[in-house]
Symmetry: C2
Subunit: 432 residues, 2 copies
């Protein structure tokens, strides 16, 4: 047990994650950091409602509804922010940094949207801004990227980092059910929010891949620069056809050095059913990292849950308690420098198209003509389910590697064809 003066901790937010963090501190999980470490002591927790019932029994005197009771208390040296969202988290964190307090946060949204300001502020005030919990729950990924792997140039990150959508996609694939039905089941089970926008439209994954890109590439990636596509548009047929063709559908978040620069993207993708990424199911998360020395690495675990998130928050807190690396830190461990960002237009991959076509001769010739003119080479064409009554059929086309820009042009031109009822789906195939 350390004899050093305790390390005063203030907690912003006492929801499920905040309660797990508080419980961990009270259970003495801060006391195992080894010699020379200071013991974290919870001084105060900011709550919205003092009377609300909570999972833990915390001395009521520790709770406050006044942020200044934490931000202006000089005995509090570390502020843990687990409220989430940009406001008021940004204001609280920046006030705490200005007051010379170290920050531990699980908040990917504020780090994505206001990271430049916050890391800059932390650097100029000589405090630490740690955020292992912001990506992948308790999976150590920020630590390895910012420390263990520092001798590598990171070339690629690909990840499944949103548990809600992965749960939905896993269920859709297993049950052949539609998106709306699976979403409402997920909501009932607590795996999806009442307003599922942040998850199903890919915002949460986009925040997280921005956070990873900063740590891995030293890149400041504005949210607007992330190509983002969610899973709302996916239909039951896509899962059936993908399985027939030997693929699974996953919502991938990726940041990779391509010819034009760093391309950051979030979208559903067809992944070969045989590769490990295809088997990361349910609420599991995975982050695949490629470094130029170390080669490909794979970090997998539970991507969410109060205890897993508390594991990461407390791990960061213990870093501070051990006094490690408390010195001026740059915006990111790799320094912050201008990284050229690439546009999705220049991305090249194989594509899956599903076209609902009039079931009549000559259809394929017209479609193939457009694709050929745009340098999109067809790998296979399969006519799937036909609807005889309506005289329509599903035409599934898999292409060889093609340029995104050309594919988008092709989609416009094919949509305009008389013989095509609609382009029902365009999905990227992730290469392995």
């Amino acid at each position: 047990m350390s004899t050093a003066r305790p390390l005063g901790v203030g907690l912003l937010g006492l929801g499920v994650v905040g309660s797990a963090v508080a419980a961990g501190l009270m259970a003495g999980r801060g006391d195992i950091a080894g010699e020379g470490a200071r013991r974290p002591a919870l001084k105060r927790a900011l709550v919205r409602d003092l009377s609300r019932k909570r999972a833990i029994s915390l001395d009521p005197r520790l709770m406050t509804t006044d942020p200044s009771a934490i931000l202006d208390d000089p005995s509090i040296e570390v502020v843990i922010e687990v409220m989430g969202g940009e406001h008021p988290a940004f204001d609280y964190i920046s006030r705490a940094i200005r007051a010379g307090k170290h920050i531990v946060t699980a908040n990917k949204e504020v780090l994505c949207k206001r990271g430049d300001e916050l890391f800059g502020l932390a650097a100029s005030h000589g405090v630490r801004l740690l955020h292992e919990a912001s990506v992948g729950g308790g999976i150590p990924i920020i630590g390895p990227l910012s420390s263990d792997l520092l001798a590598n140039r990171i070339t690629s990150i690909r990840a499944i980092i949103n548990g809600t959508t992965n749960y939905i996609l896993t269920k859709m694939a297993a049950q052949g059910a539609g998106f709306d039905q699976v979403l409402s089941e997920a909501q009932q089970l607590g795996y999806a929010e009442a307003d599922p926008t942040a998850d199903v439209d890919g915002w949460d994954a986009a925040y997280k891949i921005c956070v990873l890109a900063r740590v891995a590439f030293g890149a400041s990636v504005p949210l607007e620069a992330v190509y983002r596509e969610g899973i709302r548009g996916l239909q039951a047929q896509e899962f059936r056809y993908a399985a027939t063709l030997g693929f699974t559908i996953k919502l991938l978040a990726a940041a990779r050095m391509e010819q034009g620069g760093l391309l950051v993207r979030v979208h559903p993708a067809l992944v070969p059913s045989t590769v490990p990424m295809a088997k990361v199911d349910g609420v599991l998360n995975v982050v695949e990292v490629e470094g130029d020395l170390v080669g490909p690495l794979w970090f997998q675990g539970r991507g969410a849950g109060p205890d897993a998130t508390a594991s990461a928050v407390l791990g960061d807190l213990l870093r501070i308690a051990r006094g490690s690396e408390i010195r001026k830190q740059a915006g990111a461990s790799r320094g912050s420098h201008q990284v050229r960002l690439a546009l999705m237009d220049g991305h090249e991959c194989k594509y899956y198209f599903r076209l609902v076509c009039k079931d009549r001769p000559g259809v394929l010739a017209q479609i193939a003509g457009i694709l050929g003119r745009l340098q999109i080479s067809i790998a296979s064409v399969i006519q799937m389910d036909a609807n005889a009554e309506r005289g329509e059929a599903d035409l599934v086309i898999m292409t060889h590697p093609s340029l995104e820009k050309n594919v988008q042009t092709a989609v416009r031109e094919i949509t305009a064809l008389q013989v095509v009822a609609r382009v029902a789906s365009v999905l990227r195939v992730e290469g392995y």
Copy 2:
């Protein structure tokens, strides 16, 4: 670029790993550690033979055959040891520590056999003894266990941490070939040493699981306390029968808190073909960690190779260059305390037996009688290949969870039966 005084580095060993480390330093991989960091500068490398041709061209004046030129040079603040083996590495490392130098080592053998002394010495001299490269090549695992996951009580580690044996087992399973044939192929390809003892008899995996047990459980595990069984005895039939029954054979290294204490073991095991562990093939390594907060985690990557190992060595060096955590450290991050060690005798799991029996009535009754008396409950019995000429048949028995001690007694009693030619194989089945 840092303006601070360079950090003097001495390198013990300039083989493939040492050369990759030196190449990394010369390529400026030490210069990216961010503000406030010191730039590592290679001062001198210890070699056995100055005239030997090497993969890198190093200024000959940097090479020496005299260890004192490194160990007694006050301008060298960090010693990187990549010679391997207990002697003379132990002497060099302890001399360097006594001279106040930080140590970065890839040497699992010396850490396993002399860890108590070395970590104790490092603590009393206030220097760091870092060893990410000692387990799993470039996979970050020592870092996560000793820092990111520090708020967890680790309950279990299971790993495939020897690339040579995993390569051999993968080939034996795929080709149906025998051990000797695959070993000699592996030797020709450079995946196995001329003397393969350290790998195939499980010593290397045992060293590594001891190193992991120290970091994860704060336990000092003497090599003699590790239950160790290699892969030399495995025969082609086992792979065929295991596949028929839905299993793959892997050399597992495990450290887990069981009822009697911490059980540390290395042995081949039947792993269900459907679980991820079964699919870690070839020279890949994986470490599966369970923490009480974070749940199960999975760290996978290339377990060997000069560049991957250099990634870990340089990562540790950059930790020191950034000045992080340079304070008194205990023997392990979790402190060193007396951890009770369990004996293999008390281990419980399912078992696979292959008995070569006389092909005559009543055989099974005698065997079942012995098993029943020893509380070993039979899950299935299958008669596999029979050798009509010799009047023998392979009898494969799968049991329900049984006690190791009873299984060993059963093996002795069954071996003594007139109707049993021999107990050809006893393998543990790893539960998932």
